[in-house]
Symmetry: D2
Subunit: 300 residues, 4 copies
């Protein structure tokens, strides 16, 4: 038996030191500490890392972290929602998300052409800029394009070279968005695409290929939804992940995939039976910066 | 001001009478009662109703209810996950989901070729049967097919004429699954499709068309994820929903779309400013049967 | 293995029939069905039943159900919060809780002397009436009184003979409120008590005594907090509960007692190792009426 | 309008710098940053601070932080559960909580005399040690004792001078536990108390007195339950808190007090209408160390 070690905080304490100490406490602090250790081991062992994230992380101010994770090699490929792609395009084009109030009057906001994402506001203008930018790309393209091919074209054309989409394109890190159509980009594709067709099945073939490479394979899943399932199901045809960490605010007892435990994933052989795995129940906006800071301290 | 009316239960009380009485209580009982009234008004006013559902409802024993909702006209179109399509195919082919234990040993289960969905077990055999069935259809098809066209072909071929997929196909009720590829069916499409291509953008065009019809338009959203967003975003180009009910176990304060309030949707003009709308925080497996029973009592 | 049985809803279906059918589905519908069966078995076997409830159930319109449960013998003793006692006094004195809006402007409400409990409003007047009523009783009493003795005095004096406090007093069903002081009643006791002293330790002795009686002993726990823990801990000195059902919206992964599983309670021997136990994750305002209706149909 | 500022993490970043940067993001990271600023302002303005905490924080390894908060003046008084008092006594007597597994077999544990608190194990031995220690104190005492007087006696006698109970006793910081009887200590009081009586109403008088002092008054509430309500209700007779921060994993939509917003508390005048207040939705084991580190960096 190992004792819970009461956590000591001291002046000027570093983030990674705190996260490390959390691993010897309990509940979700312990899980966060364990997740940090597993993520560090993935990086250390040079595992191929599928970084999946859903929820409005880009509007919420997490884009520099995602960019840095791609830049520093903490993500070998990305799987995310269409909304995160679209909002990243907005930021990379110079539009900004504003700090808003979750209790704002939504009718008032709609009259001011402001869209609300919980406590973040985004002006309708941004969507016009996105449309202009995407329409041009869509009209240039032809043939069957997977989402990762299409997103690569977006990344290459973005004026902001610090955008994670640009960095990923430059470094050859594929960015999958199996639900790209479930976003404003989908509406734009429905309006402007002529010669190109979005081929989401092509994405699956690529994902499955990536699951068959040599060496250790891991995944870091932030939030649930399609990014989580699409990442895990790609392993159904392969050997199972060696590592998996999951940060979520959903719970197992509702029966859905978003809240499902990583143990459940073992029954499906999506994880190897001896995979190192841990779930942290926490808002991603809190857990992600802590985990990234931990990695940066060790590998930055 | 209107008083909270203490709820009186009596012997032999009917479900709809109880749900009606709940509308005069508080918290989620009140919201459930209000949701029932709004749903009934949608049916009464002959609104076009988008029924969106996510989460493992088919494995959880809700398939007869979904089928009955389509049969009785409580759903004018359906938007659901790939997993629900796949598991419905399994049931319609005669495979069964088993009552399991959420605390089962998942390594043990994987050795027995049993896959776990919280407290439901499903044997690997079922997936072989699904593959055989789907492979044949995929190989027959050609050209660009939206998910609703492809799912219609599935529905027409199912041996079980009580399946909601068959009933929907027979009645011309479109079934959209914008994440069909995010399921076993996606893997099968990646293996067996040659001449056909799954065209998810085509689905958007059809969804948007449906949002432009005359008369009232409403939506009943069970769970979050892509089915929720895909339904709501189709309205971005049209006038907004007149009615919306949502049943979810997610919460607004995590900032994601699944837990977002219907008020927030008004800032985006996805709902009309005067739309009748209510969110019920409850497991769908409890709320859906109650709401359906309420409708059946009134319109059945 | 037993199949999940797709739930069939039909016109005029009774509540207990629906709840019974839920036991063969999954997730929380199944758990609700199982809880109903366990509760029915407790009644059938004439078990001594500790009914614990927390959360604002009385303001939420559940008082007639609680009263009926005491009247019909579905509760052999009650453990609840001070707030529920106080709000029951208000209702029994003729004050009413109003249907409010959870998004109301709270500063506006405070200016109107309206207090908000989520979507229920209660006027400041009610508290003046309660104070007048309780002050008189407090001043009459003397000596060391346990909460159940004091609450019995309240129940006997209430003008509303349908109040669960009156029915319990009449039938000799003890009502414990180990946190009576954590409510307006506590403030009143701090102001008006002279010769009496609230002796909460005396409650423990009585609770422990009740845990030592012959025959089966069970508990039905609605919500968490002190009522849950106080009920369970009384068993630490005795043999453990034979039956336990729990309805909660809290989750195990936060580590608190309110969300703790009934399995965890077995490690403490609060439940017998072979106790029949189930937890339903659901708003009590929805689950309680369903469970009570089930019992009334069978035993009413 | 103010922009969301994408969070930049760099090598060797300090905790307080990260928390400060979070205030310019969104969701619960923003709320955590705002809570840190409000807490810092309370300390800076020399406000009287009620520190309320519930949930098994002591077993979870948070005891050194609580001790340090008392030592450094971040808490002017404490309100907590009986369980936290009892488990602190165990640690201060030299017993240890062990790192356990939340999925352990609870029947197995009970056979080994191990009690489980989610993923923490505590041996039955500890409770024997606590009983011996408390029995002696209980037998020494006489007359009406409030919980804070009784807990002061405990603190003075503890061999571990680093225990928050000892530090609080030494510094004259009152520690209230209005639910002390809702813990093992309650059982011991029921067995060993002869001449003393636990007078919980006396605590209320003291709490109300503390609410009437000059200068700013604030509260930091970690978790819900009685510590939250007992702290807030003491203000019903006074002017309302000037500052309030709350960290919780409960949600408003269930209607209970634990999940209630601080806005709701304004309708009751428990907070001043212009009080600075924020709620962070996060596991306390993660948020508390971050907040404390922020304060230590600024005031340590």
């Amino acid at each position: 038996m190992v004792n819970v070690k009461p956590l000591n905080v001291r002046r000027g304490m570093g983030i990674s030191e705190l996260v490390e100490a959390m691993a010897d406490t309990a509940f979700n602090a312990r899980r966060l500490g364990e997740a940090a250790r597993i993520y560090a081991e993935m990086v250390e062992k040079d595992a191929f890392i599928f970084l999946a994230f859903s929820g409005a992380l880009i509007p919420a101010g997490m884009r520099s972290i995602i960019a840095d994770m791609v830049e520093k090699g903490f993500a070998s490929c990305i799987v995310t929602t269409g909304a995160n792609i679209v909002h990243e395009v907005a930021e990379a084009l110079g539009y900004r998300h504003e700090k808003g109030d979750a209790r704002a009057n939504d009718l008032e906001l709609s009259r001011q052409n402001i869209n609300r994402i919980y406590d973040v506001f985004v002006s309708q203008d941004a969507f016009e800029g996105i449309e202009e930018f995407l329409a041009r790309i869509i009209q240039e393209m032809d043939g069957k394009m997977s989402t990762h091919e299409f997103i690569r074209e977006i990344g290459l054309r973005l004026p902001d070279k610090e955008s994670f989409l640009h960095i990923a394109a430059r470094k050859g890190v594929p960015v999958f968005s199996p639900t790209l159509h479930d976003s404003i980009a989908g509406l734009h594709l429905s309006i402007y695409s002529k010669d190109m067709i979005l081929d989401v099945i092509k994405d699956i073939r690529k994902m499955v290929d990536l699951c068959f490479q040599d060496g250790a394979i891991g995944t870091a899943i932030f939030g649930g939804g399609v990014p989580k399932n699409f990442t895990l199901q790609a392993m159904l045809l392969a050997e199972g992940f060696d590592y998996a960490i999951q940060v979520t605010t959903d719970s197992p007892q509702w029966g859905g995939l978003s809240g499902a435990t990583l143990e459940e994933a073992k029954s499906w052989c999506k994880l190897k039976s001896d995979a190192k795995a841990v779930t942290v129940y926490c808002d991603v906006t809190i857990a992600l910066p802590l985990l990234h800071a931990y990695l940066v301290d060790r590998f930055g």
